[in-house]
């Protein structure tokens, strides 16, 4: 198991906590346990991918409330809820809040471990996508104002001649800008550039959205 992931377990029953910790450690996970949801919210490390196993029936702050707090704090870590109470309404609420899964105690180790593995791999992928986006945004920010203008024209399918007319520059200069844009953005085709633009658009990169792409 990669050392760059971490599993958090939050349950107000210390015996359940150490049992989860022992089981997860036997397959090599880095496990951190909290018997207080507030402690978890205060101390967890968002820079590490992984997942959190959250008990529903905690007295200090129940599982769903902890999930809400995580959303408010912008923590997108996948949540695996565990509960001893088979209550459909709680389950629906948990899943609506974006939970990864909802498991009824007692849980078989194969189910638990495979769920944890899947949740971790999803978080790893989300982390990779975030990193990918961050590097794309960084590339885009390295473009000059003129290059950004040219790029937004290219992704709308405009020809060099049209771009030159719009921006009031000679076609040769447009060609130079176009080559720079392709190089800086790390793509070879217009299609690749359109794809990146869509990704940036979806990610909500503020500067990118503020630019005029009409």
């Amino acid at each position: 198991m990669t050392g760059q992931t971490r599993i958090y377990v939050v349950d107000d029953d210390v015996h359940v906590l150490s049992a989860f910790r022992r089981l997860l450690q036997t397959v090599g996970y880095d496990v951190v346990t909290y018997d207080s949801p507030n402690e978890f919210l205060a101390h967890h490390d968002a820079s590490l991918p992984g997942c959190v196993i959250l008990d529903i029936g905690m007295t200090e702050l129940n599982g769903l409330e902890t999930q809400q707090k995580m959303l408010e704090l912008g923590v997108s870590r996948p949540i695996i809820f565990v509960t001893g109470l088979d209550d459909a309404r709680t389950g629906v609420e948990a899943m609506k809040g974006g939970a990864y899964d909802y498991l009824l105690k007692p849980i078989s180790d194969t189910v638990l471990l495979s769920t944890v593995e899947a949740a971790v791999s999803r978080d790893l992928q989300a982390f990779r996508e975030r990193e990918d986006l961050m590097s794309l945004a960084k590339r885009w920010k390295s473009l000059t104002v003129r290059e950004r203008e040219v790029m937004s024209q290219i992704i709308r399918g405009r020809l060099n001649k049209q771009i030159a007319g719009d921006l009031n520059i000679v076609e040769k200069t447009v060609k130079v800008h176009r080559a720079r844009v392709m190089e800086k953005m790390g793509v070879r085709s217009v299609a690749g550039l359109v794809h990146i633009a869509e990704k940036l658009q979806r990610s909500g990169c503020r500067e990118f959205l503020a630019t005029d792409h009409r």
Binding site: D13, H15, V16, S18, A19, F20, R22, L23, Q25, T26, V27, G57, M58, T59, N62, V82, G84, L85, D86, D87, T90, K105, P106, I107, D109, L112
Partner: protein, 311 residues
């Protein structure tokens, strides 16, 4: 019987005794009530005894029947109350069971690894043993709650009992975000009563309050339990008020509240409050309900305090 009649006759007081007639030929035992008084002559000797003999067998049988019905009804409703606590018990049981299971699974995997971490192995095993004891405790608790025969009357510490019942519904309270405030005055006296029945009474009233709060669905919900003593030592009373922030009681509900089979709940049998009243009456106490200033309901229960034992 003769002794009673002779003794009472000598004093000249009227007598009233119940006695049984046991028939050797297999006829059922009859209960006879004998009432009368004696008359004495000038010398103080009994001159005549007058009175009546009434066969009260049917009445005695009926009374016994009513008492046993009452007991089984109380027991039945206790089973029902425990049913509503299934959630809490499920949680209490599933926590240690989960811990036991995962520890056992971890041990299995640890044994396949080299080198075996003996310290972890040992602590996992000792945790399993401890958790097994926790499960046994829950089962013992459940059994005590369900046991049929009441333990009889004794001096009951209501403060302890209130906390015990809150402990039982702790998980329900957490799940429905109900904050509990318990205010018990230090002068609250012990009660002379049946602890199993009194526990059931509190459980009924508290689960009702939780249901009312849950049905109303208000954001801020609170359950307040206030208890205090009143009256002088020796013949004082114990008062407890259970107040909720539900939707309160309608005038119509107020009138039929304690009637059996009256319920506002979808799956309610309508026995909870009827039983609660039966328990209170059995303890020579009183119970009444009203609405509180927060729009919820409040139940007042008054029970006679246990008589102070001579120090």
């Amino acid at each position: 019987v003769r002794n009673v009649i002779t003794a009472e006759s000598k004093s000249g007081r009227p007598f009233d005794v119940n006695f049984r007639l046991v028939d050797r030929d297999g006829e059922p035992t009859r209960w006879i009530r004998c009432r009368g008084r004696s008359q004495t002559d000038d010398e103080g000797k009994i001159s005549r005894i007058g009175g009546t003999l009434v066969d009260i067998s049917d009445r005695m049988a009926l009374q016994t029947e009513i008492e046993s019905q009452r007991q089984s009804l109380i027991h039945l409703s206790r089973v029902g109350t425990v049913g509503t606590l299934t959630g809490a018990f499920a949680h209490e049981l599933s926590q240690p069971l989960t811990a036991i299971l995962h520890n056992a699974q971890a041990i299995e995997r640890m044994l396949d690894q080299q080198p075996i971490n003996m310290r972890e192995l040992r602590s996992a095993i000792s945790d399993i043993i401890e958790d097994d004891c926790r499960v046994s405790d829950v089962i013992r608790h459940l059994r005590a709650l369900l046991k049929k025969d009441s333990s009889g009357f004794s001096q009951v510490d209501m403060t302890l009992l209130i906390h015990k019942v809150i402990g039982l519904v702790r998980k329900e309270l957490a799940l429905h975000h109900v904050k509990v405030a318990v205010k018990i005055a230090p002068n609250a006296p012990p009660v002379w009563g049946d602890d199993v029945q009194l526990q059931q009474l509190l459980l009924n009233l508290i689960t009702n309050a939780i249901d009312a709060i849950q049905t109303s669905g208000k954001r801020e919900s609170a359950l307040t339990i206030t208890a205090y003593g009143a009256g002088s030592h020796g013949n004082g009373n114990f008062h407890v008020c259970i107040s909720d922030t539900g939707d309160g009681l309608t005038t119509a509900a107020m009138a039929t509240l304690f009637d059996p089979f009256y319920s506002t709940k979808e799956h309610g049998l309508g026995l909870g409050l009827a039983i609660s009243q039966a328990i209170v009456n059995g303890h020579k106490g009183s119970i009444r309900a009203e609405n509180n200033s927060q729009g919820g309901a409040v139940f007042h229960v008054t029970l006679p305090a246990a008589r102070e034992k001579a120090a």
